[in-house]
């Protein structure tokens, strides 16, 4: 028998080191790396920590948009690159709260949670870190006990939810879909059902399409009712194929990474699709590109940039809502072959009407 126990111990020790090393979030790769070294001048007074959600850096969508805001702030000298740090949630998001707490413990002046799922965790820990500003993109932390959270808004004055009027942006792409296809059926693929967030996209999309064609039929399907619904392209493709089969000429998705399934289905069906959050035309494969009519742009970068700016000039406080009027939303124009200039003209008209308050877009499905 001899020394097998010793060897086993060594093996276990080795494995745990490997596990620890690998499991550790590869932290500041985003902030570090490709920066151009010494920025001319930057504000040394503040430090910024950002916790990405599932998908992490490189998702070409939500998280990358947030990172773009941070990089812009660094470039403009609002914060020094060496004073920033980022981390990424694991594939189920189970370490979100730990990641945020680690940043708060490290004493960053501003801690940003990229995604609504950070709300409960930040709501709970915020009173323990009165000197830290917390900003949650799409957050609902200040909703307090009414939303089943621990603390009410008064107890967490250092927390701000930065949200978007996604229904306003979705209105534009809904109108674009109806204008483009001149058909009677279009589709909507949602990610997680039941939080009210993705339902805003649906409501705006339906309203926009109906503004062009009051009789239009909008097929609606959701992938699931937990956050993994945003990371399931196989189901996304199956549901999209189903809607294309049922006559949808164009499908708009608000399903995060599951949207990759929509684009695959669009190629198979040779029909159009609409992207979300960032300009997905730019990141699609060559066979998908011509089929991506437009994307609903959500300026997460603007929200992040604003939070950093506010922290720098001490004006941070209170939640903000970004609508079309605040440049928080837009539609993408990278596929002019499909989204022709006359469609764009009409969309810009709608945009102005929404900004002027002539059109009020509903934020919940009828």
């Amino acid at each position: 028998m001899g020394s097998w126990r010793t060897r086993l111990l060594v093996l276990v020790a080795l494995l745990s080191v490997v596990a620890a090393a690998c499991g550790d979030d590869d932290g500041d790769t985003g902030a570090g790396g490709d920066g151009d070294g010494a920025a001319a001048e930057c504000n040394q007074d503040i430090t910024v920590g950002m916790a990405f959600d599932i998908g992490g850096l490189g998702d070409r969508s939500f998280n990358d948009a947030a990172d773009a805001g941070l990089q812009q702030a660094i470039e403009d000298g609002l914060v020094c690159e060496e004073n920033t740090e980022t981390n990424e949630a694991n594939s189920t998001g189970s370490d979100r709260d730990q990641n945020v707490q680690a940043l708060a413990d490290a004493g960053f002046n501003l801690v940003i949670g990229v995604g609504f799922a950070f709300s409960p965790g930040i709501n709970t820990i915020a009173p323990d870190y009165p000197d830290v500003n917390f900003m949650i993109v799409d957050g609902f932390a200040t909703c307090g006990t009414a939303c089943g959270l621990t603390n009410d808004a008064e107890a967490i004055a250092n927390v701000a939810d930065f949200t978007f009027k996604e229904h306003e942006g979705s209105f534009l792409v809904g109108a674009a879909a109806a204008l483009k296809c001149e058909c009677d059926t279009i589709g909507f693929l949602g990610g997680q059902q039941g939080t009210g967030l993705i339902e805003r996209f649906q409501a705006g999309y339906e309203a926009g399409a109906q503004a062009i064609n009051p009789d239009i039929n909008v097929l609606v399907d959701y992938i699931g009712d937990d956050t993994t619904a945003f990371n399931d392209p196989v189901r996304g493709e199956a549901l999209s194929t189903s809607m294309y089969d049922d006559g949808a000429e164009i499908i708009y998705h608000a399903a995060g990474a599951s949207g990759a399934g929509l684009f695959n289905a669009a190629v198979d069906a040779d029909k159009l699709a609409i992207g979300v959050d960032s300009d997905q035309y730019l990141t699609a494969s060559p066979e998908q590109q011509p089929l991506i009519l437009t994307s609903m742009l959500k300026r997460v970068d603007t929200a992040v940039y604003t939070a950093i700016q506010q922290t720098g000039d001490d004006s941070f406080g209170g939640s903000l809502v970004f609508g079309l009027a605040e440049d928080g939303l837009d539609y993408a124009k990278s596929n002019p072959d499909e989204l022709t200039s006359d469609i764009q003209e009409q969309l810009d008209e709608f945009k102005q009407q929404i900004i002027d308050g002539e059109i009020t877009v509903p934020d919940a499905p009828a």
């Binding site: 086993l8 494995l15 490997v18 690998c22 790769t29 196989v234 199956a238 189903s242 089969d245």
Partner: protein
């Protein structure tokens, strides 16, 4: 009757079938040799990242094109899966670590290892670029021209689906007709007896575990490269555990596994078709319950209500007598 809906549900079920069956076959080799392998999910995860990389590397960088690029991508997934399974083999066979503990470690390490490999392969930690190369779908004469919408079931059929289904023949033959298979099974049932007849138990168990890594890795590679087109963290969605359930239910039999892998795949596919969920009885059952079917069936089966589920007698038991160290 919603024939088109059934056909499309079948089409979706073939995708899940392929993933579950290949992974299940992996588990089968390992467990028939006497090594419990609950690390299938972890082996698949490593297969997804390396398979997606391999498909892109061999197709674009080495410019091998179709079909060799994507095929070598699958081979890369299998190779990395086997290498990672080697950890399980060394731990359980050479060092006689508890099989469950080692399997759990495999699943936990895989998540970090995948991020590490992703950084090395793609320069980003949680995904690769979408739209990677995949095998050209097959059109099978006859099947792809079935009437009444049934042709949809075989539309865009990946060759891997056929290969996976055909795999039942060599696997069954190897296990039941070859001397190698008899010895492998003997190691799983009664290693002491096998050794007394001159069989090197450790060698066979190593082969079983490495094969399990190769099959699970290939399955992961198929999922990432062929089905989705890029690697994404978390894309295995627990299918490795479903494969484990199918394996148990099949009584460690490759022919029965064929059926259960498809059945579980079909259960996943039903809620994805509006036409089917509006249909007759299914309409009244909440979607969540339909998705539970595979697990409920498995628990009922393990509890002994349906047939007899009997794992290889020596599976999970440390074997001290090999003298291989």
């Amino acid at each position: 009757m919603p024939f088109t809906d059934i056909a499309v549900a079948l089409q979706i079920s073939f995708t899940y079938f392929t993933v579950i069956y290949l992974t299940g076959l992996g588990g089968l080799f390992s467990e028939r040799s006497g090594i419990v392998n609950i690390g299938l999910e972890g082996l698949m995860i490593v297969g997804t990242v390396s398979g997606a990389w391999g498909a892109r590397y061999f197709t674009d960088t080495l410019d091998l094109g179709q079909p060799w690029g994507p095929i070598l991508g699958l081979v890369a997934g299998a190779a990395f899966g086997a290498a990672f399974a080697g950890v399980h083999a060394v731990a359980t066979i050479t060092f006689r670590v508890d099989h469950i503990v080692s399997g759990v470690v495999l699943n936990l390490v895989a998540v970090g290892l995948a991020r590490f490999l992703s950084q090395a392969f793609f320069g980003q930690s949680t995904q690769s670029d979408p739209g990677g190369p995949h095998l050209t779908p097959l059109a099978i004469p006859g099947l792809s021209s079935l009437p009444g919408g049934l042709d949809r079931a075989f539309e865009n059929l990946s060759p891997v689906v056929i290969i996976a289904a055909l795999m039942v023949f060599p696997v069954w033959y190897a296990l039941n007709r070859l001397r190698w298979g008899l010895r492998l099974r003997a190691c799983g049932e009664n290693p002491e007896a096998a050794r007394s007849l001159g069989v090197n138990v450790s060698t066979y168990r190593y082969q079983g575990v490495l094969l399990s890594g190769a099959f699970a890795g290939m399955s992961g590679g198929y999922l990432a490269a062929d089905v989705i087109g890029n690697w994404r963290e978390g894309q295995t969605l627990g299918l490795g555990f479903i494969a484990l359930a199918a394996l148990i239910l099949s009584n460690w039999n490759p022919v029965r596994l064929l059926f259960f892998a498809w059945l579980f795949g079909f259960a996943v596919a039903i809620p994805l078709r509006q036409g089917l969920t509006d249909f007759w009885l299914i309409r009244d059952v909440p979607e969540q319950f339909i998705r539970m079917i595979p697990y409920i069936v498995t628990i009922v089966a393990i509890a002994g209500f349906v047939g007899r589920v009997r794992p290889p007698a020596a599976a999970g038991r440390a074997y001290e007598g090999a003298g291989g160290t």
